[in-house]
Amino acid sequence: MTGVDPVTVGLAVVGGTGIACGAALAVAARFLSVKEDPRIEKATEILPGANCGGCGYAGCADYAKAIVLNGVAINLCSAAGEEVLALLSEMMGVSATAAEKRVAIVLCGGDTEKAVRRFKYNGIADCRAAHAVGGGDKGCSYGCLGYGSCSRVCPTGAIEITANQLAVVHPALCIACGACVKVCPRSLIKIVPVSRTIHVLCRSKDKGPIVKKLCKVGCIGCTVCAKNCDEGAIVMEGTLAVVDYARPLTTDVVIEKCPTNCIVRTETEVSDKS
């Protein structure tokens, strides 16, 4: 049977379907579209884009959405500087004072020169894996293992593992996202206000004589610091001195009097980077 060329039929059918669907989509886009607040996109652009999750939301876009739609506070981003805050406050019409910058600190000072290791660990170079092998090779079962799990999860490269196997945070780079806090198998990392520079760099709950055997810079629970500072600024938890970061602590006496030098003043190398 001669008739219409099958190629033409094919073209007509496919082309026709295409045009019909296109028209339907055009109509749908016109009437069924969801209007998204343009401010969400703008806020996402303003935010630093580190996607660290430190604000408690799943990345910067999610936080931007929460700011615009739910009126969440605009000063939750720890990576944002004054400039970002000013832009956000201008856009949202709310004023907010920047929350004090906070930084992470590793509460251990026992590197390989100061703290003993119990055995030679020859496994995967990861703190969580090392911690699971006989409780870790470090003599002190509370101290920093120094295999760099925290350093690897840090989105800004703020944690350095020193040549002597100890994790140290550079406050200028830290955005206090808390990723390192979650990954440390020994819960040694704490997020503190950046103005706080006096710290007890020890988390050992062992008794004094044991600490002394294991580490030169461990807290032996002598209570001298707790007695020589403002009431409650340093409290004793068993045989461990713990800084209460909610109370002011300024006196250098505690640093001078600490017999094992485990109370230190960290450098204030924070520059305003925003």
Binding site: F119, G123, I124, R128, A132, V133, G134, G135, D137, S141
Partner: protein
């Protein structure tokens, strides 16, 4: 009763040097009382027991010092009489800190009068027997330490038709179960009869690997008196045939489903040591206070099989066997394949310590690992049909979702993959830390789902 031979049916597996001759012919001797016993409250799977004594208390041998805290938990008893020196934490072989009761023995070894034989052994029913097993604090003595009374009370919708008694002892170097079968076959047989009475299982299989002819002979002799569908299965020697799931497959041909338990295929497996402990508990009313431990190693002066009190520090075992030779490098709790390297000699014997292995510098070479060359040997060796190559790479990249989809949770850490890996990759360690991470994620997901309900 008949003796049958069974070839290895399970996939994978390896043939390491067994080195059992070091201690195989050494009869079990009792180790003298140590100066100090540190009895951990976490010698079993599940919740640690909670101590029932305090500092300064006088305890008698067999007295309860830790009561089970939860459904999956086990009682702990004083291994000798003496004074409680402290109730605090000790580091266990796994490196975790567990609550423990430290006892200074008074040397009298006075037995608690509550530990006495039952008036009429035959009159006891299954429920009473399970109660006695629970009171004695018996756990799986093959290594996992699952509380036996929980295992012996399967839910009513599961029927157990076959009881397998595991005398394979496939782990190299260890001879504790072997010596027990050779020397105390009667106790094992009696224990088996108790378990059969509790379970009412129709069939009984006793599985022993063919590299233990003396044990096969001894068990054959005592089992001749057993009635019903009873077989002594002589297995072709292969590691890890003593593992529960592999053994079930080799003996019955049944495959335990992924994530399932032996009772899902109507089987229950008990170690020979557990059977003997059950007999001791039921016939004499004696709780689990000691066990047979193989102390071995090529460099050790005097490898031995010792009957030791739970809580004895490993240093005592070593000094009894001639002390640590100067070229010692690694001390392992358990066997070389699945044992845990120890950080200290002060760690104490627990209910699951089947051996203590000392390796010299020459034997414990530290390899450097390199990238996976995709040779597939680990896939061939894996008795669980997993792909350790893929898994280790997922876990190295911290891709826990993929690791879960590759069934990392089915890994039993037998070490076959790492044994054959030519790139010397730390496969087992990857699996171990990966399993912990994946299990935590699964738990979190389940909790979230439950909250959402």
């Amino acid at each position: 009763m008949k003796t049958v031979r069974a070839g290895s049916k399970s996939n994978g597996g390896i043939h390491p040097a067994y080195c059992k001759q070091l201690a195989a012919d050494k009869p079990v001797v009792a180790l003298p009382l140590p100066a100090l016993l540190a009895v951990s409250m976490a010698q079993h799977l599940g919740a640690p027991a909670s101590p029932t004594v305090k500092k300064g208390d006088k305890v008698l041998r067999g007295q309860l010092i830790g009561e089970p805290a939860g459904f999956i938990s086990a009682a702990v008893h004083a291994p000798t009489s003496g004074e409680v020196k402290a109730v605090d934490g000790v580091v266990t072989a796994s490196g975790r800190v567990a609550p423990a009761v430290t006892i200074v023995p008074d040397g009298e070894d006075q037995l608690d009068p509550a530990c006495r034989p039952p008036a009429d052994l035959q009159a006891l029913d299954a429920k009473q027997l399970i109660g006695m097993v629970a009171d004695a604090g018996i756990v799986g003595m093959g290594g996992a330490g699952f509380p036996t009374h929980v295992k012996l009370s399967p839910p009513p919708n599961k029927t157990i038709d076959t009881l397998i008694v595991n005398g394979a002892e496939c782990e190299p170097y260890l001879t504790a179960d072997y010596r027990l079968m050779v020397e105390s076959a009667d106790a094992i047989k009696n224990g088996i009869e108790i378990i059969r009475k509790i379970l009412g299982a129709r069939s009984l299989r006793v599985a022993i690997e063919d590299n233990k002819p003396a044990a096969i002979k001894a068990m054959e002799k005592v089992m001749a008196r057993l009635e019903g569908d009873v077989e002594l299965v002589v297995l072709e020697t292969e590691y890890p045939q003593g593992a529960e799931k592999q053994q079930i497959f080799s003996v019955t041909g049944r495959e335990v489903p992924s994530g399932g338990l032996p009772m899902d295929v109507g089987v229950l497996v008990e170690n020979v040591g557990t059977a003997a402990a059950i007999w001791e508990a039921v016939s004499n009313g004696m709780p689990l206070m000691d066990r047979i431990t193989t102390v071995t190693g090529t460099s050790l002066k005097n490898p031995s099989n010792l009957k030791v009190r739970i809580g004895t520090p490993f240093s005592d075992l070593l000094s009894h066997c001639g002390g640590m030779p100067p070229d010692s490098c690694k001390l392992i709790c358990g066997g070389p394949m699945m044992g845990l390297a120890l950080g200290s000699q002060a760690t104490a014997v627990s209910k699951t310590t089947s051996g203590l292995l000392l390796l010299s510098k020459k034997e414990s070479v530290a390899f450097t690992s390199s990238a996976c060359i995709s040779c597939g040997r680990c896939v061939e060796a894996c008795p669980m049909n997993l792909m350790p190559n893929e898994l280790s790479q997922c876990l190295e990249a911290e891709d826990y979702e993929s690791a879960e989809s590759y069934d990392v949770l089915d890994c039993m850490e037998c070490g076959c993959c790492a044994f054959v890996c030519p790139a010397r990759r730390p496969l087992v360690q990857h699996m171990r830390s990966g399993k912990a991470e994946v299990a935590a994620r699964v738990r979190e997901r389940r909790e979230k789902a439950e909250k959402a309900k």
